[in-house]
């Protein structure tokens, strides 16, 4: 086994230093009857064999490397510049732990600080933390944070038009508490706010792609004394007004789209930012600037009095390991694209999605339901959407998500996503295929 560097002679010398005759003797504390069970596992494979086996399994998938891809719904097919994985996979980043010892972790710490800074500007907030597990857990933890500010306010207002899996996660996270989760439909400013509400949650855009301005909702939430939480598309924030500028108190997002592969939905990047006022209530690791005794600038994990290793049962969250490397990829992505590149990618998504939507809307029997959207839109279809998905699979097109996957009543609704990855030719092919699929 190449991962164990000691020779038998080394082991003998070590046992002698310990004063034991055998390695087994070191396990004397383990109940004898339970010690060294025979595990029923397949025999070990060599590196060559294991890579062949895993390669063969991977090849069974039919993903965006083989099929024209128009499916989003929370995980998106975007271009990843070559430098992103090349830099993030350097062993010094990849094989470091959480930066508990700042003097030998300045690389990781400065990168987190840069990520926090760029993400804060994108969202229009003062503080961003070093990541959550994904967009759904970031949203759930944001809602927990809002509720814990005043547990007397035990209602959470949630858009009906939110990703069903995010709703499910939120429900799990609140399942031990007497908190009422109430869904509203339509624009967030029309939600039934009252003094019992801990927070109003809005999508920017919603699951269906529908896009609402946030100013009125922020104002109404604040009048009711509730926090305003926005789940945003981070790329969209490059061209449309940030949630923070419109009055959001907490902004959360799934950051996978910023330089990370789809990977069957994980690892993702839970992004969370907030106003300065909420800084000491936020969960998650946060990096701050510090000085050494010579006045040199450095970075440290800070405000740790919020966290589990200090506060234990009184901590604001149990999170410990986060999504560090995914955050780093997104940090490098934002730095490489910069202001101009981020705008360019967002504009490409916007223009291509609108081009696709206008063509699809003119097809007989199809209708785009959105008033306003970014890169994803909902289409009502003349026949069950899943039938269309199955038919187009044969032509190597994945046209989107049939909403019947989550709700059998939504049989004729197809959620279509268009990104910079989809060329005009590909979009035209999708439109032609949709037309033929329902003939």
């Amino acid at each position: 086994m190449p991962f164990i560097p000691n020779a038998e002679s080394d082991r003998m010398a070590m046992l002698e230093a310990i004063g034991k005759k055998s390695i087994e003797a070191l396990f004397a504390d383990v109940p004898a009857r339970k010690r060294f069970p025979k595990l029923k596992l397949p025999p070990a494979l060599s590196e060559q064999e294991v890579l062949r086996e895993i390669g063969a399994m991977a090849a069974k998938n039919r993903g965006a490397d083989k099929v024209s891809w128009f499916l989003g719904a929370g995980i998106y097919n975007h271009f990843i510049p070559a430098l992103v994985p090349a830099l993030a996979s350097r062993g010094e980043f990849l094989t470091a732990y959480t930066p508990y010892q700042p003097e030998v972790s300045q690389g990781t710490l400065q990168a987190i600080f840069e990520y926090q800074s760029m993400a804060a500007r994108l969202f229009g907030v003062s503080v961003v933390n070093a990541s959550h597990y994904d967009g759904a857990t970031a949203l759930a933890e944001a809602a927990l944070m809002a509720w814990k500010l005043d547990e007397g306010r035990n209602k959470i207002l949630l858009p009906e038009d939110l990703h069903p899996e995010y709703k499910a996660v939120l429900k799990t996270y609140f399942s031990s508490f007497k908190v009422e989760i109430v869904e509203y439909s339509g624009a967030p400013e029309n939600a039934a706010l009252d003094s019992g509400c801990a927070c109003l949650i809005a999508g920017y855009p919603c699951f269906s792609g529908e896009l609402y301005g946030l100013k009125a909702a922020a104002q109404r939430a604040h009048e009711a004394g509730a926090l305003f939480i926005v789940h945003a598309d981070p790329l969209m924030c490059a061209i449309l007004e940030s949630p923070g500028a419109q009055g959001a108190d907490i902004v959360v997002a799934e950051g996978q789209s910023l330089g990370n592969a789809m990977n069957f939905g994980g690892p993702g990047l839970g992004m969370m930012g907030a106003t300065e006022k909420l800084m000491r209530r936020m969960p998650g690791r946060i990096v701050g600037e510090a000085k050494d005794h010579d006045g040199r600038r450095g970075f440290v994990l800070t405000l740790t009095a919020r966290e589990q290793h200090i506060r234990r049962e009184k901590a604001v969250s149990n999170i410990c390991s986060n999504q560090g490397l995914v955050m780093l990829q997104s940090c490098i992505y934002m730095a490489a694209l910069g202001a101009g590149g981020m705008k360019q990618v967002a504009s490409l998504c916007y223009d291509k999605a609108h081009y696709a939507a206008s063509l699809i809307n003119s097809l007989k029997g199809f209708k785009v339901k959105n008033r306003s959207f970014f890169k994803e839109f909902l289409v009502s279809t003349p026949i069950p959407a899943q039938v269309i998905v199955d038919r187009l699979a044969k032509r190597k097109i994945m046209p989107g998500l049939a909403l019947s996957r989550y709700d059998s009543k939504k049989e004729k609704e197809l959620l279509i996503c268009v990104t910079e990855m989809n060329s005009k030719t590909e979009i035209d092919r999708l439109v032609a295929a949709l037309k033929e699929a329902v003939l």
Binding site: Q116, G213, E241, A335
Partner: protein
């Protein structure tokens, strides 16, 4: 190490530059919603080489397993095989979408299924869910499962979780998130759970106990089967924190020894890289009675096809989709390269390495508990008057070693928690011992070397108190 100060990306910015060429649009421009147009985003603007040099230089300011011995206790900083990375880089994994139909994702679901099966066998459990994204997430899953299982037994009034005083902070924090109150159980003189104290705590409000085994002192919980029996007898359930499973693969199956539900940190025992903070994977495993409550969906095989389904009485979803899949690929690759024998050798060699370090250091660095340890041990850093563990840790950096975990567990004063892992050679361990002994000598003769350490790093000790008092959390240029 790269010692030169590295500017922030913002300070390197030049107006109009971009670090990646992007396609020009091949469709007509669409009108943006007028009331929402953003005027500027104020992100840095850099060319590609500047970005590459910047992050390369930053990487050179880290210690990592690939570059340094990293004996960070409880974190299992073992070598992360490069084959894991090659396996995860397959385009068939990177390009598969979580909402692609099951028929499009057979390979991905098969991998999840196989890893579930392997991990269930390693732990001696009936079922596994790979959804939790980290250890703490697995803990949350586990205590929620205990909550629901007790409710199903008609025992919903049981809301108190027992937690040994040596437990990691995530244990009590996870309990709070699941609506439990916690009661701390002290350790006895031998570093194991004090059975009398446990006995006294076992009333009918007890939901269960969270046990880390080996515990964070690196000691095997010798009374594990007895403790489990006592808690079961009292109507509670037993949670296993598997962060320290590296000592026990192929040695002990917790699921066959009274543990009802348990998480493993795949980013520790199963060699997936820690990435400077994550992503991890915190699979949760359960015995038969608790299996229906697992978070989901989980993979199963039906007439030759793989599919994902929610367990019958699932606590629900803990994150969107199915777990940190990219991490799962790496863990699967590792398990397949080990087999049963390899797994046992991991545990044996990690325990051998830890005991060797313990034996060589114990005369100089006092131990509170002296019996043979498992994969790690806890020593104390107060080797001379005026010297603290922090000083030892910082001086180790000057010798080219990442410090051990310090000031944890909380029950050992001036704790130095040392975990070498099985992937370090005797030679490396000997070099580390030499450094530790030499530092202990310096502590008596030239303590200022310790107080001023480290001096070989891009920055010296940073003023963390000032940083927290008036926090600067973003570049304000």
């Amino acid at each position: 190490m790269n010692l030169s100060p590295e500017p922030l990306v913002f300070e390197l910015s030049r107006p109009g530059l971009v670090g990646c060429s992007l396609p020009v649009s091949d469709v007509p421009a669409a009108q943006l919603p007028k009331d929402l147009v953003r005027s500027s985003i104020d992100l840095p603007e850099l060319d590609e080489l500047t970005v590459v040099r910047h992050f390369t230089r930053l990487s050179q300011k880290n210690y990592s397993i690939d570059t340094h011995f990293y004996p960070l206790g409880s974190c299992t900083m073992k070598y992360n095989p490069k084959a894991n990375e090659a396996a995860a880089a397959e385009s068939g994994w990177k390009n598969i979408h979580p909402l692609a139909g099951h028929s499009e994702a057979q390979g991905a679901i098969e991998l999840i299924y196989r890893l579930q099966e392997n991990l269930a066998e390693i732990g001696g459990f009936s079922s596994v869910s790979l959804q939790p994204a980290a250890g703490a997430h697995g803990e949350l899953a586990g205590v929620l499962m205990i909550r629901d299982c007790l409710k199903a037994r008609g025992q919903g009034q049981r809301t108190k979780m027992l937690i040994p005083d040596s437990a990691h902070g995530t244990n009590p924090a996870s309990c709070t998130m699941a609506g439990f109150t916690t009661q701390t159980i002290p350790s006895g003189k031998d570093g194991n759970i004090d059975l009398k104290a446990l006995e006294a705590a076992l009333d009918d409000s007890v939901a269960g106990i969270m046990i880390t085994n080996p515990n964070t002192l690196g000691l095997f919980e010798r009374n594990i089967t007895k403790i489990a029996a006592m808690v079961h007898e009292a109507g509670g359930l037993v949670y296993g924190d598997g962060a320290n499973m590296n000592a026990l693969t192929g040695v002990f199956q917790p699921g066959k020894s009274g543990i009802d539900v348990m998480h493993f940190n795949l980013h520790k025992t199963f060699s997936t890289p820690h990435g400077g903070g994550g992503p991890g994977a915190g699979m949760v495993a359960a015995v038969k009675e608790l299996a229906p409550f697992l978070p989901g969906p989980i993979a199963r095989k039906r007439s030759g096809k793989y599919e994902l389904a929610m367990p019958e009485k699932s606590i629900g979803r803990l994150k969107a989709f199915y777990g940190n899949f990219g991490v799962l690929v790496r863990a699967y690759c590792y398990v397949r390269m080990q087999g049963a024998e390899g797994l046992r050798r991991i545990a044996e060699n990690s325990v051998l390495n830890a005991n060797y370090l313990r034996a060589r250091l114990e005369k100089t660095y006092k131990l509170k508990y002296t019996r043979p340890c498992m994969h790690e041990f806890v020593a104390m850093g107060d080797v001379a008057p005026g010297i603290r563990t922090l000083d030892i840790a910082k001086r180790l950096i000057d010798y080219g070693f990442h410090p051990p975990t310090i000031y944890f567990p909380l029950i050992v004063p001036e704790a130095l928690m040392i975990e070498p892992t099985e992937t370090e050679s005797k030679k490396t361990l000997d070099d580390f011992v030499e450094a530790m002994l030499s530092i202990a000598a310096e502590a008596k003769t030239t303590p200022e070397l310790l107080h001023n350490a480290p001096t070989t790093t891009p920055v010296g000790r940073l003023d963390e108190v000032a940083a927290a008092r008036s926090p600067v959390l973003c570049f304000r240029g």
